[in-house]
């Protein structure tokens, strides 16, 4: 979707393709699926409206105005509209482009720029720096929230984000990355060898989830190779409109994983999975096509992978629980993986799956959206929690750390009894003891 010639009133670098915006025939099928349209009832906050704005910029009918910047960042990038769109318009990706454009049109002041560059270009790309900066309550500040608050003035921020950010942090253990052996051997009859893409948020905040993912994989008969040099997948950079750094990270990870002797590359983070699957497009002009398609063919989300190879259920222990499943946007909408997690849940002996209403409606986390728009986020979250409540489940399952943070926080705030678990933690409970 990137281009290098100027398109209408966009700048040359990373502008949307004209074909991608003209594709929208304005049928409005996206409207009932858009959480921000549900919040505002305002057409410009809908996928159809946002694409129309981008089209107007492309056709020189509108400058790239602050309102477009605002809409680009107000979009949750949940991709529910992509799933709903019969015409194949990808409004979320068009808005990602517009985020990148926003930085070109509205450059930050010196300090802001330096801070943003430090966070996105120095700190996040370096696993070591991320780990050493892990004074838990300061993590969020260091990840740049304070900077966002101070410099994205267009976002009407209240002071509540700070409490929320701190309140959301789970009880932190040591990061998983340094603890995890480079190779963990398969157990039982060996079925293959997978590369494990350990995401930043997973190693830093949910080490126990990814530990379970590795246990599940080895129990299923796979050697698990975890390259220690793995860098951030680039999703935060795409989300913040820094496509260039995202490309550099992608190029690094591409070579790193292609150099491993593995049959598949698996991740347990829906956000990483979605970004990794987009490398092909992101790097279209920067890497050989053959390499990109070889990489793309190997990428799997963990639930997609387990269903594809077939879950070995012998030896699984009973887990008596009523669970409900919240679909992460970056799994169901961005990757189209919706049936697989449910199938795995149903295969765990003793587990009863209780479908909630609107399981694929966003939880309101959406990277840093939940902090930037904390009041709107609360409304989206409340809608989700009502549906969780009505399901009558004891355990709320998800498969993405962003959702996990938001939902666990929401459940706690609301005084609800549900445990929030990653699907791999639930599956981990069914594994025989190591």
């Amino acid at each position: 979707m990137s281009r290098t010639e100027p398109l209408g009133n966009f700048t040359a670098e990373d502008a949307p393709h004209y074909d991608d915006v003209v594709q929208c025939m304005r049928c409005g099928f996206c409207l009932p699926t858009c959480p921000t349209y549900a919040l505002t009832g305002r057409e410009r906050s809908s996928p159809r409206g946002r694409v129309a704005l981008a089209r107007a910029v492309a056709e020189k009918k509108l400058e790239f105005t602050p309102a477009i910047k605002e809409e680009a960042f107000f979009c949750l990038d949940c991709r529910a509209c992509t799933t709903a769109c019969p015409s194949g318009v990808r409004a979320g990706e068009v808005m990602e482009m517009c985020r990148s454009q926003a930085h070109a049109f509205y450059p930050l002041g010196k300090m802001g720029k330096a801070f943003r560059e430090f966070i996105l270009q120095k700190m996040v790309p370096s696993p070591k720096m991320m780990e050493t900066s892990m004074l838990p309550t300061r993590l969020y500040q260091r990840l740049g929230i304070q900077w966002l608050v101070r410099h994205l003035k267009v976002l009407k921020l209240g002071p509540e984000w700070m409490n929320k950010a701190e309140g959301m942090l789970p009880e932190l253990e040591k990061p998983l990355r340094p603890q995890l052996p480079d190779i963990v051997a398969a157990r039982g009859e060996k079925r293959g060898r997978v590369g494990f893409f350990l995401g930043c948020v997973m190693t830093l905040m949910y080490p126990n989830v990814s530990r379970n993912t590795v246990r599940v994989l080895t129990h299923q008969g796979f050697d698990v190779v975890t390259p220690k040099d793995t860098k951030c997948c680039g999703a935060p950079h795409l989300s913040e409109g820094d496509r260039e750094t995202a490309r550099q990270l992608a190029l690094f990870n591409l070579d790193l994983f292609l150099a491993q002797d593995v049959d598949y590359i698996v991740t347990d983070c829906a956000g990483c999975g979605a970004a990794l699957k987009e490398y092909e497009e992101l790097l279209a002009e920067r890497a050989e096509h053959e390499k990109l398609s070889r990489f793309r063919e190997k990428i799997r989300d963990i639930s997609e992978f387990l269903v594809e190879v077939g879950l070995r259920t012998e030896g699984l222990q009973e887990v008596r629980a009523r669970v409900t499943y919240h679909e992460p946007c970056h799994l169901c909408h961005a990757q189209g993986i919706s049936a697989q997690p449910r199938q795995l849940i149903r295969q765990i002996p003793g587990v009863e799956l209780r479908e909630m209403q609107e399981a694929s409606w966003c939880c309101g986390s959406a990277a840093t959206w939940g902090l930037k728009f904390s009041q709107d986020s609360q409304k989206v979250l409340d809608r989700k929690l009502d549906n969780v409540k009505a399901s009558g489940a004891d355990i709320l399952i998800t498969a993405n750390p962003g959702c996990h943070l938001q939902l666990a926080w929401g459940v706690r705030q609301a005084g609800m009894p549900q445990d929030v678990l990653h699907l791999m933690e639930l599956l981990g409970r069914a594994l025989p003891p190591d």
């Binding site: 409207l31 410009r44 107007a56 009918k61 019969p86 015409s87």
Partner: protein, 477 residues
């Protein structure tokens, strides 16, 4: 331009959040789903009560602004496009279902209620509201009334007009109108209600609608038939009707449409087939079984390539849902999708398909055809690129010639989308200068100043003295 005092007044009466006038908002509220038409209003208001509608109309009059009512903007003839600028009255925030009357089998709702929401609400009480336009998930009841929307079930159950029992609204002079009621029979005087249905907002602003409900069918069977050529499918339709079987749905898709829909829904539709018919019979179990058998027999007689019966309700629903995406899915094929709404007497269906094929070839176009075959309502859709002027000319010539034939057969230029902006010329051809004159006179009586949705259905002398705010504006930050 609208004055800042007027904006302030509107905000005072309707609340800040219900008045939009920033250019980005205007830009996104000047289109519907019709290709090629897009005009900017000067202000958009979201009344939440009839009083607010009147207040907004009063301010519009002071400012000399024409009024264009709008729902969700899913129309297919440009009915809600503010072609003369002015004020857009967006009724989506008047979205309460006011009553479901189980004794009289009626439902009363505000104009902004989403069609499917009403369907679901009455279904929860064991009742059935049949009109189901393709965009029912997002279209509003008010929009359906304005355009007299049809849908997949039109064949057996009719269109929106057949279910409207009463309307309330505001006329151009801001007086209230209430017409019709819950009485099943009502022949008192002129049928204003029927005049308002399908008037596209040119005669009044409808704010409240009472619709008739019926008991839902107890049983349903869905049959899917594939064909090696489109004409055979058309023949099957005519023969089913001739056999005195009225299915609730009889939808057709040709190969182009099948492939686009399959690209999106991925439910295993046969990509190599020339056409498919989706047929649903419903009602009491005994006649349903009989009719389903009758349909199958006819399909065998005409030598359909394959005949399948839907496994279960879920499968049937997924097929109907797939059909609903046809138009939008076709948009995958080309930047521009020009859609028409030609409707012929059902006996002419097979010939109409031949004519579409002939004209497609003659004008060297890519055309996908789908539609409600059972009621003769077809949507031949030209897949083109609006930047290619020569191709666009051929597309228009295609429709011109097609409509000539459709009218010669006693058909109509619009089965369910309305006239709006897109089909004014064709309407004039269908009803003649005399017909247009009568319509203008009716309009004159309801709206002597020409302030309600000007520029729609027929061309006016130019009762509008307002500045024409067109697309193509420039703004800077």
């Amino acid at each position: 331009m609208i004055s800042s005092t007027a904006i302030a007044h509107l905000k005072e009466k309707l609340g800040d959040a219900n008045v939009l006038h920033e250019k980005e908002d205007l830009l996104t509220l000047g289109y519907d789903s019709t290709p090629g038409v897009h005009h900017l209003p000067e202000v958009v208001v979201y009344p939440t009560t009839t009083e607010e509608v009147i207040a907004a109309m009063e301010i519009a009059e002071r400012e000399g602004l024409p009024l264009t009512p709008r729902g969700s903007g899913t129309g297919l003839s440009g009915g809600s496009v503010p072609v003369k600028g002015g004020m857009v009255l967006c009724l989506t925030r008047m979205n309460r279902i006011l009553e479901i009357d189980e004794e009289n089998l009626t439902a009363t709702a505000e104009a902004g209620v989403i069609t499917l929401d009403l369907f679901n609400a009455v279904a929860a009480k064991g009742l059935f509201y049949p009109p189901d336009p393709g965009s029912q998930k997002i279209s509003t009841l008010g929009g359906n009334v304005a355009e007299n929307a049809g849908g997949l079930r039109g064949l057996k159950y009719g269109v929106t007009r057949d279910y409207v029992m009463a309307l309330k609204g505001v006329l151009a002079d801001r007086s209230l109108i209430a017409t019709g009621g819950k009485s099943v029979k009502d022949v008192a005087g002129y049928g204003f209600k029927d005049l308002l249905v399908g008037s596209e907002g040119t005669l009044g602003i409808v704010t409240e609608i009472t619709v008739k409900l019926i008991p839902p069918p107890q049983d349903k069977r869905t049959i899917l038939a594939y064909f090696n050529d489109v004409r055979t499918a058309g023949e099957a339709v005519s023969r089913i009707i001739a056999a005195k079987i009225i299915p609730s749905t009889m939808e057709i898709m040709d190969r182009a449409v099948i492939n686009c829909v399959e690209d999106y829904v991925k439910i295993g539709l046969p990509r190599q087939m020339a056409a498919l018919l989706l047929i649903e019979v419903d009602g009491h179990p005994a006649p349903v079984a009989e009719e389903a058998a009758g349909v199958q027999k006819i399909l065998e007689q005409v030598k359909a390539a394959e005949i399948h019966v839907a496994r279960d309700a879920e499968h049937a629903a997924s097929l109907a849902a797939a059909r609903r995406t046809a138009l939008s899915a076709l948009a995958r094929m080309s930047p521009t999708t020009l859609l028409e709404d030609a409707t012929v007497p059902r006996s002419r269906l097979a010939e109409t398909f031949s004519e579409i094929e002939r004209l497609t070839e003659k004008y060297r176009l890519k055309v996908g055809t789908f539609g409600h075959a059972g009621d003769g309502n077809l949507h031949p859709t030209v897949l083109c690129d609006e930047r290619d002027h020569e191709e666009m000319e051929r597309a228009h010539a295609f429709y011109n010639e097609l409509y000539e034939q459709v009218l010669a057969w006693g058909g109509t230029v619009s089965g369910e989308h309305g006239i709006g902006l897109a089909k004014k010329e064709y309407l004039a051809r269908q009803i003649g200068p005399g017909g247009v004159q009568v319509m203008k006179r009716i309009k004159q009586v309801f709206d002597p100043q020409g302030i309600l949705n000007p520029g729609k259905i027929f061309d006016e002398g130019d009762p509008c003295t307002q500045v024409h705010v067109e697309e193509g504006f420039r703004v800077s930050h």
